[in-house]
Structure formats: structure tokens, C-alpha cells
Amino acid sequence: MKIIQIDKGQWVSGLNQAAAAYRLFGPVKEKEFHSFKPLTNGLQPDLSCLNTRLSPKSIIYPQSEVMFDYSLDERREDHHQLMEIAKDYSPKAVVGIRPCDAKAFVMVRLNFDTPDYQDPYWLRAYESTTFIGLGCEAPCSACFCTSAGCGPYHEEGLDVLLADAGDRYLAKVMTEKGAAFMAAAGWKTAADGQADATLAGMRQAAEAKITSFVPTDNLRSLPNNDLYNATFWEDVSFACINCGACTYSCPTCWCFDIQDETRGTSGVRLKNWDSCMYPLFTLHGTGHNPRGTKLHRVRQRFMHKLKYFVDKYDRGIQCVGCGRCVRLCPVNIDIRRVALMMNGFAASGEACAIES
């Protein structure tokens, strides 16, 4: 693992050079907020962005994606066949992704890359992408990454971690993909011997700025059914309007819906993001809906994030503490408050009277 020094004067030229070998993505401000956009025509990533409004998951996992198409027109050679759509899996690089969002991809991979099933769309997109992360010097007030097994300078999921050291970036290169990107950009000056210590200091300083903490130590050991039957769910779920703001902005949410759209004798099969908050998410073909009420759905979301995932994978909660759901929920349902209630739940069946 080496640390390379990028003089800020060489930043733009390096990126332009890398653009010859990679399709670059980075945070760009449009109107009120930042989104990850393709950096075409010399567009520069805005690294002063605290974080993008929606997560970068759409770079790897577009909201609507055509899986394959077909035609019944017998004049075509490929008629009555499901044809894979040509997609561009040439190398991509995401520049300026925050450590929380990068770690989220590693978590989501647990779902799309299993011994039994692999999702080729997600995996091919993910594996052809290099992640150049930017450490957070000034975490937001709703960020609780250190409680979620992550942190402002966390390295999981990143190929390179950049730290802003004033007149230069310190770039910690952690993988071969990262090294390849640095070479393509022409950034090769090794940082001095102090770099490790400088980086460690920046990490500590950033972690000290986190003001939001969420206890999660009891979640693993709490009995599932007791949590499920707790009496606080009515209070938690009342305000929810069952929209998809939390799920769509969340970097660790992965659910989708598959549907065909046809026009005449041709059609496509689409994969669209779906949300467990929607009333029809669990509607069965029989007409039965096991999560027909708001309480069921809200409970399911928090149990999934804070309990079922914890039990199934034993790697902590299905959350990276990015704070988007907290800031974007139209009615201010706060996962931190719910985590506090769940973690503090006494298994005797009495809800702990914890309020934020």
C-alpha cells in the first residue's frame, strides 16, 4: 500500500489524462444539490460537496435498466428470442465518492454475488468500476458512520482514498485497480515518510467531529420475535407516508421489480428500483398482501436494516450512517431514534421508554 502525493496543480490535468482510459463520474452541483454525473467535456468533480443528495448506487445499478429485448417479427433473424442488450462495461471511475457510499457497495454485493446466484448486470458494472474516494474532513450533523462500522476515512470498497492536505492530496492506493488509475492519470510522486502519520491524524480529527452516535451492540442478541412484537412500532410508523424517499436515497437498499413493457410485436424486460415502503411491494398473485398495513412495512424496513441483516451476515447493521434517509424523510422518521429504541429494548416485552 503506497501513498502518492498529488499536487493540486496537477489534479485537473491528471483527471483529463485518466479520462482517456476511463469514463469518469463525480459529484456535480445542479440547482440546489450535488449528484454524481458523467464528467464529460472536461466537467470537473466538485470536491467541496459534503455528499450527494442521492447515493451513487445508480452508477452501478441504474434506476431503470433494460435486461433484454425481443421481437415477434418473423422477418427478423432473432425473432422469438430473448436478446441481451448491449451495454457499456468499459472501465469507469467514480471520483470523489465518500467512504460510506463505497462501503455500501461492498455490503450490497453480499446480495448480488452469492454462491448460488450472481446478478450479471450489477456485478459486471461493479467490477469494471474503480472507486477513488475522498475522506470526509467535515462530517455532517446527521452522519453516524462511526456507529455503522464505517467512518470518514474508512477504506472498505475503495481502490484509492484521497485526503485533502491543503496544497496537495494524499492518495492511499490500496488495490491494483487503484494503482492502474493512478498510472493512467500520471500521478506517481511518492509522498514523504510523514504521509502515513498525516493521514492517521486526519482520520482521527474527522472521527472526532462526528456528533451523532447510535448504539447497536444489543441488536444481535435480542430475540427476533420480541422485537417484532414490540409495542413501539405504532408510534414509530404513524408519521410514515410510505413513499420511497428513504429507500431510493439509501446506498445499501437493493430491492427491484422486474416487468415487461411491450409495444406491438416487440418488447423489453425492465428492472426498476422498488421500495418495501410501497403498499404493493409484497402483493401476492393470489391477492393476499402479508404487509398490507403501514405498520408492517415500516417495521419490516427497520427490522431488515437493524436486525435481520445483522443476524444473517454477522457484519453489523445494513446501514453506513450516511444520513440521507434522516435528512430526506418528509416526515422526519429517524433511523437513529428507532435504532436507539430497538437496541434499548428489554426482552421482557416492555418497550424501553427511550425518546430522543
Binding site: 441504474p62 434506476q63 431503470s64 435498466e65 433494460v66 413493457e261 409495444r263 418488447g267 423489453v268 425492465l270
Partner: protein, 52 residues
Amino acid sequence: MEHMGIEPGRLQFSWISSAESTKFVEVVTQVTNAIKALGPNSDFTKKLAEVA
């Protein structure tokens, strides 16, 4: 519809009773010609989903 940017003249209404066959033919012919004169609507159409 017009507020949203669809050209005027694409949406038309007429009262026609089932007993007014002549009027029906006239209106259908007139509207068909009017729409053809406007040309194909290229904005608000969907062939197959324009997505990733």
C-alpha cells in the same frame, strides 16, 4: 395539456349522438386532417422505454 407544452389542436372534443352519423364522418375527417397537418407528435411518445 397545452399548459404542459403539447401543441394546441391535438386534443379535440365534440358532442355527437349515435344518430348523427353524418356529423360523425365530418368531424372524424376534419380532426384527422387537422392532426395530420400538425405532423407526428415526437415529444410525448414512447416507443420502448428510454432507460439505461
